[in-house]
Symmetry: C2
Subunit: 354 residues, 2 copies
């Protein structure tokens, strides 16, 4: 059994899940997929031993603005992290991965195996997730930076793609990382059968990642090393000096050590209300009803009443999310455009609702 | 100029305007049609002199459960009523009209002219309303019980109809009162051109009404006389002994003194969200947006955010009413069926929301 140090990144705002997701309590801190918050689901998925992998206590790397809900979630899930660090400013995932590697080395030595996961994804079942980590572990131990590839199920234009190369252990080498495609290209990718979505999940040896960062983005590594203090506090001005860059661009697209492991689990970034609804079981009328909802003659809809009783009569294919101070409604096929509402709110100085 | 004593009846619950209208604060006490509540609009419509009629201070006859919002509304409108009485139990409009007649006689003597109006109707413009009252006044002074008839604009099945007889002053005698029709009959009524909706607005001499009640429903009159005390308190057990009966059935369908005056004003009972929307001006997209609402690419909809920010994107022909504890959504053509929701709530012991 291989020991793996999970590093949970809590970054993105989940804006498109407004009005539930707010700046002070973004997406990971809501019970959207189960009775627990997505953050707690993530913590519980990455602990204990089984399916060929033993997770040690997690590293948690989060924005300073969400320290309170992060600490609440840890307590609520009964998890004591090996370390929690709070970034005073956001610098994307390359600095966060560097922090994870440095913290893991403190715990486990230079060749610590680090699993980078996001705090706000839907992943199921847990056993298949663990099996995928176990399958990737020998590649990572062997010096590969392994990215998890999700077999695509639709011509999605919102994700980056990975084109697989030749077989490598239980995975593949990476022929290319490909940017978010247009619709035609996405359809070609889907038809080709050799593409995978890049879900931002990585397994690597800490020393390998740090050496590749030193080679390709030395400013990131320097800033992070300078910023991380003995007590895991992060010095703001040192950290802010890092370039803001995703791990994919900083390392993955350049390194000769990339590998890809096909995910054996169902995955969604649940980035929008419709994609969240897609990830959940429907009732007999094709609805997902969450919270305090009463629906009559209603079909194909996602209805969420959070601290509010939501009632619907005769509606079809609607997304309606109600909270005590804000409500959002849209047809299902347009609910992903909620940012139009947020943009308008900002222009009207309604930041109180964001 | 004829002096008229308005008697404002605050009874019905306005259930179909849920979730705004609640048992403790029903329809008349919400600002649905203007910046003031419907009750205040009604009070202000029935005061002062002009267009041939001088309204004296109103009588207010309300259910005991809504005494608080009634008193608030009077204060807010700056109206001191001639008398306010609060019925300990509801017994429909015949006893309420009897109360109005008795109270008016105390103020104005036996032949007081009493105008019975509901507290929760849309009526506009005010001048046309007053002109209609002035036109009805000679008939009432002459001993007729005058019902206001609304020229029908659609084959409505939700109202009773009045068939006009021969001309009588500026109005007509009544050939027949007709029950709520089925759809075919309503279409025939509309085509015939001799029917009017019965809007429950009456003008009569107090002595005439009381004598007709004594003739046709003596138990109502006896109960009301026994119940009404010198300080305008209503004794519960005496009042509860009255039959529960509408004025139309108790008197209008039986009396030989009925007359009908065609209304010169626009009228709606604003009983449902769609009928409320119909009574209001639309924006360029055919929407009525009330309260704190942000709508993008939205057409033909009634959206109300009451103590909540309501946002909509890309919706069509929807009714959505949001309050801090309850939300209702339905397609416009089904929004009148909101009672289905209320029935289900009652069956689930959710009386807190009614």
């Amino acid at each position: 059994m291989i020991s793996v140090r999970p590093a949970i990144l809590c970054g993105g705002s989940g804006e498109r899940l407004w009005p539930l997701s707010r700046q002070a309590k973004p997406k990971p801190f809501h019970a959207l997929l189960s009775g627990r918050t997505i953050f707690e689901d993530t913590l519980l998925r990455c602990r204990g031993a089984g399916e060929g992998v033993a997770f040690s206590d997690p590293l948690v790397i989060a924005g300073a603005a969400i320290e309170a809900p992060v600490r609440e979630g840890l307590t609520s899930a009964g998890i004591t992290p090996a370390a929690s660090v709070f970034e005073p400013v956001g610098r994307n995932t390359a600095p966060a991965a560097a922090l994870a590697a440095l913290l893991a080395q403190k715990q486990d030595g230079p060749d610590a195996l680090v699993l980078i996961v996001s705090s706000d994804h839907h992943i199921a079942p847990v056993a298949s997730f663990r099996e995928t980590v176990a399958a990737a572990a020998p590649l990572a131990a062997d010096g590969r930076i392994v990215v998890f590839g999700i077999p695509p199920t639709r011509p999605e234009t919102g994700y980056g793609y990975i084109r697989k190369g030749e077989a490598l252990g239980e995975g593949f080498s990476v022929a290319a990382f490909e940017e978010k495609p247009d619709a035609d290209t996405a359809a070609q990718y889907l038809a080709a059968g050799d593409r995978y979505w890049n879900a931002g999940i990585f397994l690597f040896r800490a020393d390998v990642l740090l050496s590749e960062l030193a080679r390709y983005e030395p400013e990131v590594l320097h800033a992070v090393r300078s910023a991380l203090q003995a007590d895991n506090h992060i010095d703001e001005s040192a950290f802010a000096a890092s370039p803001s860059v995703p791990l994919d661009i900083a390392v993955m697209e350049r390194t000769r050590h990339a590998a890809m492991i096909p995910a054996r689990f169902a995955w969604s970034d649940v980035g929008t209300w419709p994609s969240l609804a897609d990830a959940l079981d429907k009732d007999g009328d094709g609805n997902v009803l969450a919270g305090d909802v009463m629906a009559i003659d209603t079909t194909g809809s996602y209805l969420r009443g959070e601290g509010v009783t939501l009632t619907a009569l005769g509606v079809e294919d609607l997304v309606l999310v109600a909270t005590p101070d804000a409500v959002f409604v849209a047809p299902r096929e347009r609910a992903h455009e909620v940012k139009q509402i947020l943009t308008k709110m900002k222009s009207q100085d309604r930041e109180d609702l964001l």
